[in-house]
Every structure is written in structure tokens, then in C-alpha cells.
């Protein structure tokens, strides 16, 4: 059974179509990065998966219908919807008490152990903590829950680079065990390049690219083309071309690696560069190419 399975998932807010019939399948044990410009439908997709909004189409999360079985689903699903949603009046100790009180899968000792590594004091109120500490606290609560699916929507927005790095390190080292599934959206794509196992681009309510990271590395190459090979390189139909320090950098999709190596310096593109390439070009072509 896939952790998340959607067919023809659709959501419209009045005349605005937030999700335009997407198909999606996330297997157990994957870490999916969901990337898209603002208003692309990422949050809507996550809200539907979390049972926060009604939707049209078929959607199963851990075999359940999220909208109608939300209360049950939330025992196995955890999410950080945004930074700073922890209630500001709450004390750290109260947050621990409360989650321990209501969540059957919460391991308090685990949360305490994680907090012990931070400077967060039990008696502090959330409003007294820095933004980074609030994120740490939220992560401590979430990681101590033995959930099967963790959804993170911009979990590091507004945090400084140390906290951001630490956030993903903790997630990978202390939480992810290969059987849980994680879905993460972020604008800081460079941070998750080496975290995620699968990548998905979403734009205007449609999935425009869907690939595993192994596929990604086997399929996309960026070549810093030597000036004398530029014409030859362009003939191979790069999906994107940019200039850096007077050199042309061309991004190729599904072009033979050996052939490209002759044209210049070869490397795996960053997700950010691919994003710009895919979003800049015709979205329809990109999806066609992905299939």
C-alpha cells in the first residue's frame, strides 16, 4: 500500500483552481520534496492530504480517506504546517504534558532527550523562545511521535542557517528510519537536495515534474560548455541555458552522458537550476518528458 495515493485530486476555491486533477503516489519510506512557486498548490495539496480541506477526486492516505477519517488518521500522521504555530501562551512543560495526554504514540522521554540537547527551558513560555527554538521545540514534539507519515510545510521558513541545517540533520539522523514517509515543501531547495529521495515540481495546480533522486542524477546533467563546443551543445537541445562568468551552462535532459562529457565540465544540476529551467519552459512539455 502506498502511503499517499491520489487520483484526479482537484480543489477549487471559487473560480481559482488550486489543484487541477493531480495524480500522486508516495511509497512508504520515501522523502518527497514538493517544490513549486507561491500559489502553485503545494499547501492545498498538503491540506487535502492532512484532511484539513474537502476535495474532489480520489485520495487515500495510509489507506484512509483524510477528510472523513481525519481523527483516526492523525494518530499516524504528524505535521508541521508552518513555523510558529505553537501557541505563544503555552509553557514548554505544558506542551509536553498536553501532547503526552492526547497522543497515544507520543514518547515523552524521547522529546525530553531531544530538548536536553537544546537550550530550551521547561518553564519557558513559547513567546519567550526565539523563532529557532520554537522550531526546535516543535520538532522535538513531532519526532517523539511514532507517526508513519510526517508532513512539513516550509518548516524552516525564517530560521537562520544554523537552525535550518540542524533541523534537517535531526530529522535524518534521529527520526527517519526508512519506514516512515516524509513530505516536505520548501523554497530553500538547496537544503533538501541531499535529504529527499523523490522530487516533485508543482505549478498552477499541476504536477510538472516527478522523479526519484536516482533518476534525477541519471537523467539531468549540467554542462559548462567550452566556447568552441557551444553550437554542438545547443544542437543537443538543452532545456535551459544560462551564463556564468562569461561561460555558457547548459542543462540537458536525457542526453547521453559520454556525449556531454566531451563538450565540457559535467555535473548534476542543483534542484534550483532545474526548477528554473522547468518552470521557465513550457510546463506541458516538461510533464510529457517526465513520462
Amino acid at each position: 500500500m502506498a502511503t499517499i495515493e491520489a487520483r484526479g485530486l482537484r480543489k477549487a476555491y471559487g473560480a481559482t483552481i488550486a489543484l487541477d486533477g493531480i495524480n500522486l503516489r508516495v511509497e512508504e519510506g520515501r522523502i518527497l520534496g514538493l517544490i513549486g512557486p507561491n500559489g502553485a498548490g503545494k499547501t492545498t495539496a498538503l491540506d487535502a492530504i492532512l484532511g484539513l480541506i474537502p476535495y474532489q477526486g480520489e485520495l487515500k492516505v495510509l489507506g484512509r480517506d483524510p477528510w472523513n477519517e481525519r481523527d483516526l488518521l492523525m494518530r499516524d500522521v504528524c505535521f508541521i504546517a508552518d513555523v510558529a504555530v505553537l501557541p505563544r501562551w503555552m509553557r514548554v512543560s505544558q506542551a509536553l504534558d498536553y501532547v503526552a495526554g492526547v497522543h497515544p504514540r507520543f514518547d515523552r522521554a524521547k522529546a525530553e532527550a531531544f530538548l536536553a540537547k537544546t537550550e530550551i527551558k521547561r518553564a519557558s513560555k513559547v513567546r519567550q523562545l526565539s523563532k529557532g527554538m520554537v522550531a526546535q521545540l516543535h520538532l522535538a514534539l513531532v519526532m517523539a511521535i511514532d507517526a508513519r507519515l510526517l508532513v512539513l510545510d516550509e518548516p524552516t521558513l525564517g530560521l537562520d542557517i544554523l537552525y535550518r541545517k540542524q533541523f534537517y540533520d535531526s530529522l535524518l539522523n534521529d527520526y527517519f528510519d526508512g519506514t516512515r514517509t516524509i513530505v516536505v515543501t520548501t523554497h530553500q531547495v538547496e537544503e533538501i537536495q541531499h535529504v529527499i529521495t523523490d522530487l516533485m515540481f508543482i505549478n498552477r495546480g499541476r504536477i510538472v515534474l516527478e522523479t526519484s533522486m536516482e533518476q534525477f542524477e541519471a537523467r539531468y546533467f549540467e554542462v559548462m560548455v567550452k566556447p568552441e563546443h557551444l553550437a554542438a551543445a545547443q544542437a543537443l537541445k538543452p532545456i535551459y541555458e544560462r551564463q556564468l562568468f562569461g561561460r555558457s551552462i547548459l542543462l540537458f535532459d536525457n542526453v547521453d552522458r559520454l556525449q556531454l562529457a566531451e563538450l565540457g565540465e559535467l555535473r548534476t544540476p542543483s534542484i534550483a537550476d532545474l526548477f528554473v529551467a522547468v518552470m521557465g519552459s513550457n510546463a506541458g512539455t516538461a510533464q510529457g518528458a517526465a513520462k
Binding site: 489507506g63 504546517a81 510558529a84 498536553y98 492526547v102 497515544p104
Partner: protein, 312 residues
């Protein structure tokens, strides 16, 4: 897809892990959470009680003189005069709690959307029904219970204080003789229960508004009713609606009793005898049941609304 084959193992795994948690636990912790967040629930009546006691203490030196005056009156008025400070204390605390209840309800489901914490609450396995009911129980049960405890404690302190002050003048015994304190407590308890039931639709309405309105919850809570009253007055020149509202708002304590309306100048409390308890009248009054049905409808609406509601 192999959903069918995986289903049994999944369910057993679930029942194993979930077993130690009873159904009422999330409710219990949600109520505790309300008390953590809204300390005014108990702070406000405690402050009101302190003010009452302070005032009573400040005027204690006049007590012997007042008591002598009271003892000169005929029996009903005498009793009333002795009871007056105790009733006033109860009323002041009850009024404070009523105000607290109104503002608590208006903010209960609005605040969590305003500060976005609803996203945190919704990330936990607590249903919207549990969340809403844990908020509704505050004005319907917790506040009345708290009122009872605080009023009784306040009156007890007043009683001891007055005994101490009256002791030198030899009048201390008269308080214990003439003040029907246990009876007052019983009347208070019964009155608090009946008013909680009577006022249930008010609080349920406030919760509904709080889960629905994007801003200005107080105005949304009040203006529609005033508008209906005004339209009624203009269209039919009647005041049926506004009178109904006023009775709902202020009648809570009286509904459960046979109220004797003494002449105003007599200063005789409207309720001072157990014989005035009238549960039969109260529980057979259509007004009560219509109110409770409306309250239930409002609460169901609130639960449904919360499901669709995200942060503001």
C-alpha cells in the same frame, strides 16, 4: 493495490498501540489546556472575591452599629439586612463570571485561528467535537462550579470576619442565628445549575460566532439580535423579541424558583427559602428545552465550522 491483505495486520497494530488511551483522555487534557490558556477563568472571580472581602473588611468597623439597627427591624427585613452583604458578594462574583464566560466564548475559537495555533491543535489526534466540547464545558460547567466554590469560600470568610468583629459587642451569635448560610449555599448551587442550563444557548451562540467570524466577534454576536429587535419594533411596533432576549440574559437565576416580588423598598431578597425551589416548573418549561435544543444546534454548527476553518 493490496489494501485488503494489509488491512488486518494494520488494525491489530493500531488497537495494540491505542489501547492504553481512553476516549476521555483527549477531552480531559483539552479542558486542562483551556484552563492553562485562559487563566481569567479562575483569576477574575478570585479578584472579584478579593475586592468583595477587602470592601467588607474596610467597612467592618460599622458592623456592630449596623447589626443593632438591623435587629430593631421586623423579622423579614431584619433577615434581609443581615443577608444583604452575603448576597451582594455572591452577585458580584456571579456577574464577574458571567462576563468572563462571554469573553471566553467569543475568543475560544477565534483566538486559535488568529494566532494560527489551530494548525498545531489540528495536527494532533483530537477531534473537532472534542475540541469544541472542551470549550463549551467551560461556561456550562466549570465556571458555575468555580463560582460556587469561590462564593461559598468568600461567604465563609465574611462570616468569620463578622463573627470576630461582633464578638466584643456580644452580637456574634446573631449572625449564626439569623443568617441561613447553608441554605443560601444550597440556593446558590441550584440557581447556578438552572442558570447554566438556561443560558446555554447564549454561550453556544457566542462559540458559534467565534468559530465563524473573521473579526469583530463581539459585534457579530450582538448586532444581529439588536437588528431583529429593531426590525420587529419598526414593523410591528412590538417588543416581543427584545423581551425574550433580556429574559434569556438575565433570567437565569430566577427561572428555577418561585420568585416573590416584594416591594422594591423592602430590600428583601427575591429568593431566600428552600420552599421557593421549583424544579418542576423549571424542567417543564418549554423555554428551557427550546433553549437547550438551540444550544445543541449551535454547538453542532460550531463543530462543523471548525472542521472547515483554518488560520485567519
Amino acid at each position: 493495490m493490496n489494501t485488503e491483505t494489509k488491512q488486518p495486520s494494520e488494525t491489530s497494530f493500531e488497537s495494540q498501540a491505542i489501547a492504553p488511551m481512553s476516549a476521555t483522555r483527549p477531552f480531559y487534557w483539552s479542558v486542562r489546556r483551556e484552563l492553562w490558556e485562559n487563566r481569567s477563568i479562575y483569576m477574575a472571580p478570585l479578584i472579584a472575591a478579593s475586592v468583595v472581602l477587602f470592601g467588607f473588611g474596610m467597612t467592618a468597623f460599622r458592623l456592630p452599629q449596623l447589626r443593632r439597627n438591623a435587629l430593631a427591624l421586623e423579622s423579614a427585613r431584619m433577615r434581609a439586612a443581615i443577608e444583604l452583604p452575603y448576597d451582594a458578594a455572591a452577585m458580584m462574583i456571579m456577574f464577574t463570571v458571567f462576563i468572563v464566560g462571554i469573553f471566553y466564548c467569543l475568543d475560544a475559537l477565534h483566538g486559535e485561528r488568529r494566532d494560527r495555533s489551530i494548525l498545531f491543535w489540528k495536527s494532533l489526534p483530537v477531534s473537532d467535537r472534542t475540541s469544541v466540547l472542551s470549550k463549551a464545558i467551560v461556561p456550562l460547567a466549570i465556571l458555575p462550579l468555580l463560582t460556587f466554590v469561590i462564593v461559598v469560600a468568600t461567604q465563609l470568610v465574611m462570616l468569620l470576619l463578622s463573627t470576630a468583629v461582633l464578638l466584643p459587642s456580644g452580637l456574634a451569635g446573631t449572625t449564626w442565628q439569623l443568617l441561613p448560610w447553608p441554605r443560601l449555599s444550597l440556593i446558590l448551587f441550584y440557581g447556578l445549575v438552572t442558570s447554566a442550563l438556561w443560558e446555554a444557548p447564549i454561550f453556544a451562540w457566542l462559540l458559534l460566532v467565534s468559530s465563524w467570524a473573521r473579526r469583530a466577534t463581539f459585534l457579530w454576536a450582538v448586532l444581529p439580535w439588536l437588528a431583529i429587535s429593531a426590525i420587529e419594533k419598526l414593523a410591528f411596533d412590538t417588543t416581543f423579541f427584545i423581551r425574550m432576549l433580556v429574559r434569556r440574559l438575565t433570567g437565569g437565576f430566577e427561572e428555577g424558583f418561585v420568585v416573590v416580588h416584594y416591594p422594591k423598598d423592602a430590600h428583601v431578597p427575591v429568593v431566600d427559602r428552600l420552599t421557593q425551589f421549583d424544579p418542576l416548573k423549571f424542567f417543564s418549561s418549554p423555554g428551557l428545552w427550546i433553549g437547550l435544543v438551540i444550544a445543541a444546534v449551535f454547538l453542532i454548527g460550531t463543530i462543523r465550522l471548525r472542521r472547515y476553518r483554518g488560520p485567519l
